[in-house]
Amino acid sequence: MSVVKSLFFFGPLFFGLAFLAPLVAQVMVRLDLNAPFALSPLQFGLIIGTVLGLIATYRGKWI
C-alpha cells in the first residue's frame, strides 16, 4: 500500500509529464503556434507539464 501511496503522491507530476506535456505540444502543433526561445513544441510542453505537475504535487491541488 505504501508503494501505491507514493505512486499516487507523485501522480500530478506523472500526469504533467506523460499527459499534459504531449497535450500542450500537440495543441501547439494543431494551432500552428510557436514556442518561445526557439523551443520545440515538445520541449515547451515538457517544461509546462513538469512545472505544473511539480506545483500540484507540492500543493496537493491543481487549482
Binding site: 499516487f8 503522491f9 500526469f15 500540484a56 496537493g60 491543481w62
Partner: protein, 285 residues
C-alpha cells in the same frame, strides 16, 4: 392511522413498482458505453469531427452512472438469482467511461444509504454545500490530488472498513485509477493527446461535476437531518426531471432502493400522500 399501518400501506404501494428486469436501464447502460467506445474509431479515422465526439462523449460519460446504480442495488437481477451475472455485467460495462469500478461504487453507495448526511459515516458527505455555486465549487475541490472529499474519501473509508469487500473495492479502485491514467498517457505519447483529452479526460470531469451536483448534492440538500424520512427530499429541478437524471424523486429511491429509476416518478405520485403525512421535504412537488 398508526405509524405501523402507515408503513404497511407505504410498503404495499411501493411493492407495485418493484420486480422484473428494467429493460430501459439495461438498454441505456449497454448502448451508452457502446456508443462511447465507437466514438474513438470514428474520431480517429476522421469520420466524426472531434468537437462532435467531445459533445457526445460528455453526454455518454454523464449518463454512464445511473444504469450501474440500478446494478449496484441488484435491481436488474437479484443477488443469488440465475441472472445475477447479467446484473453485474451491466453494472461493470456501464461504468467503463466513468472509470469507477462497480464494487467500489456499490460498497460506498450502500454506506451512503445507511448513513446519509452523517458527517463521519456517509461517504458522499463531502458534496454537501450551502448552495448551488458552492456545490459546484466543491465538486472541483473534491477532485484535487490530495482532497479530503470525493473519491479520496472513498479510499480513506475503504481502508478504515478493513473488510474483505472493502479490500476488493479498494484494489479495484487502485487498478482502475492506474489503468485510466496509463491509457491516457499511452494515447498522449502516441500522438492522440487531444483526442484523449476531449473524448475522455475533460468529458469525465464535466460528468463528475454534473453527477456530484445532481445525483448527490441536490437531492440531499440541505442535508442536515438524518433518518428514513428526513435524509433526502423531492425537489423541483429547473432542468426538469430527465435532465436532472430523475433526481427530483430521489426520496423514493432512499425509501425503496429496489424501485428502478424509471419507475420512481410514478411511485412518488402514488406515495406522495403518505410522504406528506410523514413530514418529508417535498418542496411543493
Amino acid at each position: 392511522m398508526t405509524s405501523q399501518s402507515l408503513r404497511a400501506r407505504e410498503k404495499a404501494i411501493a411493492e407495485q413498482f418493484m420486480g422484473g428486469i428494467p429493460w430501459l436501464m439495461v438498454f441505456w447502460g449497454i448502448t451508452n458505453t457502446a456508443i462511447w467506445i465507437a466514438l474513438w474509431p470514428l474520431v480517429f479515422t476522421g469520420i466524426m469531427p472531434l468537437w462532435l465526439g467531445f459533445i457526445i462523449a460528455t453526454i455518454n460519460i454523464t449518463a454512464s452512472y445511473l444504469p450501474s446504480h440500478d446494478a449496484q442495488h441488484y435491481i436488474i437481477a437479484p443477488k443469488g438469482s440465475k441472472l445475477e451475472w447479467f446484473n453485474e455485467l451491466v453494472g461493470h460495462w456501464s461504468l467503463i467511461p466513468l472509470t469507477l469500478p462497480l464494487r467500489t461504487a456499490r460498497i460506498t453507495h450502500m454506506e451512503h444509504h445507511k448513513h446519509a448526511n452523517d458527517p463521519l459515516l456517509d461517504p458522499d458527505y463531502s458534496t454537501h454545500a450551502t448552495g448551488p455555486l458552492q456545490a459546484l465549487w466543491k465538486t472541483i475541490v473534491n477532485r484535487q490530488p490530495r482532497a479530503e472529499g470525493g473519491f479520496n474519501r472513498y479510499g480513506q473509508l475503504l481502508q478504515q472498513w478493513d473488510s474483505p469487500a472493502a479490500k476488493s473495492a479498494l484494489t479495484d479502485a487502485i487498478i482502475n485509477k492506474i489503468l485510466f491514467f496509463g491509457i491516457l498517457a499511452a494515447l498522449a505519447l502516441s500522438g492522440y493527446a487531444i483526442e484523449a483529452a476531449l473524448l475522455w479526460w475533460l468529458p469525465r470531469h464535466l460528468a463528475l461535476t454534473y453527477i456530484s451536483f445532481y445525483l448527490s448534492w441536490a437531492p440531499h440538500h440541505p442535508g442536515v437531518e438524518k433518518g428514513r424520512y428526513k435524509d433526502t427530499r423531492a425537489f423541483k429541478s429547473r432542468m426538469g426531471n430527465i435532465w436532472s437524471s430523475g433526481m427530483q424523486y430521489h426520496i423514493v429511491h432512499h425509501l425503496y432502493p429496489t424501485i428502478p429509476l424509471n419507475k420512481t416518478p410514478a411511485a412518488y405520485r402514488a406515495l406522495r400522500p403518505i410522504l406528506l403525512e410523514r413530514g418529508c421535504n417535498l418542496d411543493h412537488m
